[in-house]
Amino acid sequence: MSARRRAGALLVLLGLAVLALTLPAAAQDAAKEPAYRAFPLLGSRLAVWAIAQLHLNFAAFILGVPIFAVIIEIIGWRTRDARYDWLSHEFVKLTFAAFSTTALLGALLLFLFAGYYPKFWTYMSSIFFPTYGIYAALFFAETFTVYLWYYGWDWLSGPRKGIHVALGVLSNLFGTAILLVANSWVTFMISPAGITESGALKGSVWAAINNYTWMPINIHRLIANIVFGGTIAAAYAAFRFLGATSDEERARYDWMGYIGNFVALSAFIVLPFAGYYLGREIYAFNQTMGITMMGGFMSWLWIIQAILIGVLFLGSNYYLWLGMERIPGSERYRRYVPMMIGILAFGFMVWATPRSMVITLDEARAMGGTHHPVLGFLGVMSAKNTAVNMMILTTFLSFVLYRRANRISTRSWAGAGMLIQWAALVAAAVVVIFYGVYGYFVESLVRIGFSVYQVMAVLGAIVVVMAIDIPMFRGARSTGAIRWGTIAPRSQYVLIILAVTFTWLMGLMGFARSGIRQHWHVYGVMVDKSVDAATPAIGYAANVITVVTIVFFALVMFIFWLGGLSDRGQAGAHGHAPAPLIAGGSDEQA
């Protein structure tokens, strides 16, 4: 990054700080002004929607990537493997380039709120003013820590590497704290707490922060950010792979893409569980809101979500299966692939089956109601929980097979170990299916509890299998080195589709999160009386999400291109170690 760009980024931060300090005054002025102003051409809602989603996308990326970047750096530091240090630096470089754009979009969002929704902003400030200063301080702390982390990569190497890693950890802690503060604002709008019936703060602001959906969204976003960061980093690597001109470059970006996808997949597997927790808390806060979300006008949104998640599961598995083709010895596991495709495809279909159809009266009479007589049974939570848990188990199996593709255990107890592993997987599948079927015969209150048993069975199987797998394959005999760079090019398009799909999914979930408030700025407290108070239908929302996703990727490509400019013509002069050779040089996956 040039000195000019650095100065520019600092100016943005300074502007944000001034903004944060002047916002209360702006909010006071706003109280005398009209409740709403109209944004030219687009309308205020669309302007806020687009900028908020773009800001969220960038923020998710710059908060998610450093989490696994520092883990990769620690792996490189402890194993003294320079490849991981290079990779970690590459990942941080990507986020670094996106840092100032995130801040700019955040500032723009604040201007939009203060300018076009002044009454709403005044109200939010009346509750959350004490958190503004904390947010600004955390932002500064994170920025300077990340700057030091990135620019000090070589200065803090060798015996001082521990300090460098600590900086990485610290920047992640500050980043997570920023996430928690920002989440308190958005979750308060969904599930307000700590206020009187007239909306005034009752006591401490902590009660407003610690509302029903705050912690579930903290957890959900933290995991989703890692998935998102992984998919974007993998897509970047895929793009570089497809444009590579040498085997060495292809090998490097094949490996980088694999790591990005591995990170995304690992976090993605647990994301549905965080989603259950969030859904449960929404119901706990307000039954009407929960029912509106799942069974009201938003019910079709979850069918789209099911399709997107189905694509993510199928795509992630397909990428792993393609990746196994470049691993000598993986042939012995090919026979499992048809079975896994079957489970994933069936799970996908079950998850995408709606409970009730929006149909005409004649059609309903012909069908005997709005529920299909046969397929309607697959539209309920019992079937869907079973499907998603089976898909998670299958994806985990894909990963386990990939992990051991070129390794043969030399442990004397390997046979018994594998037997226990298979038993754990089968037992989990039996528990999942048993409670899925049993769920049809009990009341809904009891059925909800079954999902916990299903989740625990899947998580338990994952823990048992990995607890055996790691020691079982330590010091294993290799059947040949992974031929990095020889993976089929279509696999790289899969990585790009995964990134696009996950970004689109984030947009959809953003719409869901806002849409469940319907015509309320703050649910049950502050009514939306603007011209945009109606919550749009899914088609309109999808069009907005697509446009925002296109703009996001256009900006990302531009920023990555800008980031790459500084590297051109000064390879090695940047101060960081050159890219390591990877082609044909590794027996290990990660």
């Binding site: 509106t292 703050v522 697509t546």
Partner: protein, 265 residues
């Protein structure tokens, strides 16, 4: 001609997003419109107009259809077909319109056997129907098999005072919540059967962690003194809650306990 990687990747991405968008536009489109305020006070309205207005509110602002159907059994709430005819026979000593008004404003006062106590009071946010709207909904429900005879005077004048975020009077109970928590965990032995936020572990009775959100102070106060008279929440055993708190608790302990329960939101 060799197509640049950027173009190929861009095209793939556009096709993927286009497919998602296309499907989202293909499926049924349902928009959630903000409810319109209805005011009938002071004006002349025929029963037919009232029923029509009530039906509209039932389908829109009232969000009743999320759980209730007319002519179709639901898992969350009773079928309302014929409710106008059977409302007068559901709760002993209560006429049809009184029962319907109570069901809308204090839904937990009487829970139909087999259904969970999840209905919110319709005059409170987020539904926040005003007095005219509650009147119209009662008329619509009466029209489902019964005679429409509800008048505006049957709807309490206080209904809708707190709707839409306007200031509403807060109920002040002259008790000490901290002392009430001690009663809950000690002398009252409530924790043996109920959970209340961070205290208690019993599951014999309903979880009270949000009792102040879903119940009125009147209900909570009456339920402690006369549990059987307020009915048993669906899914829980009948006759377990002692009827003797009116004798065993002092007046202070009772008000403290109520004050504590009202903090559970």
């Amino acid at each position: 001609m060799r197509v640049p990687v950027g173009v190929k990747v861009g095209l793939v991405s556009l096709v993927v997003m286009g497919a998602y968008s296309g499907y989202a536009n293909y499926i049924p489109q349902v928009q959630s419109k903000p409810p319109q305020e209805l005011s009938l006070e002071g004006g002349h309205v025929t029963p037919a107009q009232l029923v029509k207005a009530g039906e509209e509110i039932f389908h829109t602002k009232g969000t009743c259809e999320i759980c209730h159907r007319v002519g179709q059994k639901g898992t969350r709430a009773p079928d309302l077909a014929g409710i106008g005819a059977r409302a007068g026979k559901t709760k002993p000593g209560m006429g049809a319109k009184q029962y319907l008004v109570e069901s809308l404003l204090q839904p937990a006062a009487f829970i139909v056997e087999g259904y969970p106590p999840i209905m919110p009071a319709v005059d409170k946010p987020p539904i926040a129907l005003n007095r005219s709207e509650v009147w119209a909904v009662v008329a619509f429900l009466e029209s489902l098999g019964g005679t429409v005879d509800v008048t505006l005077d049957d709807i309490p004048a206080t209904v809708g005072a707190g709707g839409g975020g306007a200031a509403a009077a807060e109920v002040k109970i002259p008790g000490d919540p901290k002392a009430g928590e001690a009663v809950f965990m000690g002398k009252g032995t409530c924790l043996a059967c109920h959970i209340a936020g961070k205290v208690g572990a019993g599951k014999v009775g309903p979880d009270l962690s949000q009792i102040a959100r879903i119940q009125t102070p009147d209900y909570i106060m009456a339920k402690i003194l006369n549990p059987a008279g307020r009915g048993t929440v669906a899914g829980y055993p009948k006759g377990v809650m002692p009827q003797t708190f009116g004798q065993t608790l002092s007046a202070k302990e009772y008000t403290d306990l109520v004050a504590f329960l009202l903090t559970l939101k």
